[in-house]
């Protein structure tokens, strides 16, 4: 039986050839097609719209235990209300946004949505809250440091602060002055 299993496994799990489309997908993720018109002007504001996931996350965390004390119907109503507020904010902002505390999930989302391969990693004292695509090739990552929502805008280009990806220089504009090293920790061990 064991030899038979060996044979069947070798046959059934034989190597496969990668589809030709795989490189196209990777190439597109590394380099989005040029000439795509930006949907909106990139915003490098001091208080970016991306701060809203953190803003809506915090009340939701505070409101839910209270709502649960009021009873299940109130809790459900509170959740629906928070989702509506959040969805409306998303629609009004007009940007593709992604709220998550998982650096890997945000990294994958940025690579897929903005074509910006930013090697995000968990960092002590810095909590990622989400990301937003401002326009093709320009994105903003939101994070919380010392309980304060901050963000960093990332785009391709060459400049004083090249990113870690070989062959791809990333321009970084931290929308903060308080803890500039915190934004570095998003990608680098300090």
């Amino acid at each position: 039986m064991s030899d038979w299993i060996d044979l069947q496994l070798a046959h059934s799990l034989a190597p496969a050839k990668a589809p030709a489309a795989l490189w196209d997908r990777i190439d597109a993720a590394l380099c989005p097609p040029a000439g795509t018109a930006p949907s909106r002007r990139a915003s490098f504001r001091k208080q970016p719209v991306i701060a809203f996931p953190a803003a809506t996350d915090a009340p939701s965390r505070a409101a839910l235990p209270r709502a649960l004390r009021w009873g299940v119907p109130c809790a459900v109503a509170a959740i629906v209300l928070l989702l509506l507020v959040r969805t409306t904010a998303l629609e009004l902002s007009g940007h593709a946004e992604f709220a998550s505390n998982d650096p890997i999930a945000v990294e994958h989302w940025l690579a897929h949505e903005a074509g910006i391969p930013v090697p995000l990693r968990p960092a002590p004292g810095v909590r990622i809250t989400g990301a937003r695509v401002d326009r093709p090739g320009v994105a903003t990552v939101a994070y919380v440091v010392d309980g304060r929502p901050e963000s960093i805008t990332i785009t391709r280009g060459s400049g004083a602060a090249p990113g870690a990806l070989p062959g791809r220089s990333l321009l970084l504009a931290a929308n903060t002055s308080a803890r500039s090293d915190a934004s570095c920790k998003l990608c680098h061990s300090l």
Binding site: S12, P15, I104, P166
Partner: protein
């Protein structure tokens, strides 16, 4: 472990990638694309999911290349990336249409002989049985039978001892024997 045969030597290619030479990226991709995709496909059992995993693996590979210090073979490092990507996807997703791609491929096949269908059904059953294994056991099976790695090589990739690999493969064999005994 089977090494890639590259036009340039692997260290030269890696150095060229670090310098941002686009041709080097492509050469590295060409060298590893089938291995990465095969592991992703045999682990996930789904072509579109395998594409996602392979894409994530290569994006991670290109972005983390400066962190590769050469402590292990480059191929081992690549295997680790794809294994982590597979396990990461497994944690985050469910599969709703198992083995549909295989079924469609059989139905589209011009030579729908009885023999081909029987062979295809057997492959289907074996793959379905493999999919019921735990992620760690399944990955050990895929690295063993898709890539032909030794127990020691699998242990290095998965970050465990060769004894653990032997135990996982032994348990996988027994589980598969039980599941496929009626075939």
């Amino acid at each position: 472990m089977t090494r890639m045969v590259l036009a340039n030597s692997e260290p030269d290619l890696i150095a060229a990638c670090r310098r941002g030479e686009r041709d080097a990226f492509r050469a590295l991709f060409e060298a590893y694309q089938d291995k990465v995709y095969s592991i992703a496909l045999r682990f996930s059992g789904d072509e579109s999911l395998a594409m996602d995993i392979a894409q994530d693996t290569f994006l991670k590979l290109f972005s983390c290349l400066p962190e590769f210090r050469g402590d292990s073979a480059f191929s081992t490092w690549v295997y680790r990336l794809v294994v982590n990507a597979c396990l990461d996807h497994k944690r985050r997703s469910w599969r709703f249409a198992p083995l549909a791609d295989e079924l469609i491929a059989v139905l589209r096949s011009p030579a729908n002989s009885l023999d081909a269908l029987l062979h295809s059904e057997m492959r289907e059953r074996v793959r379905a049985a493999v999919e019921t294994l735990s992620p760690d056991m399944r990955m050990a099976v895929v690295l063993r039978y898709t890539e032909g790695l030794s127990y020691e090589e699998i242990a290095e990739v998965m970050g465990c001892s060769a004894g653990t690999v032997a135990s996982r493969l032994n348990r996988a064999h027994k589980a598969l024997e039980r599941k496929l005994s009626h075939v």
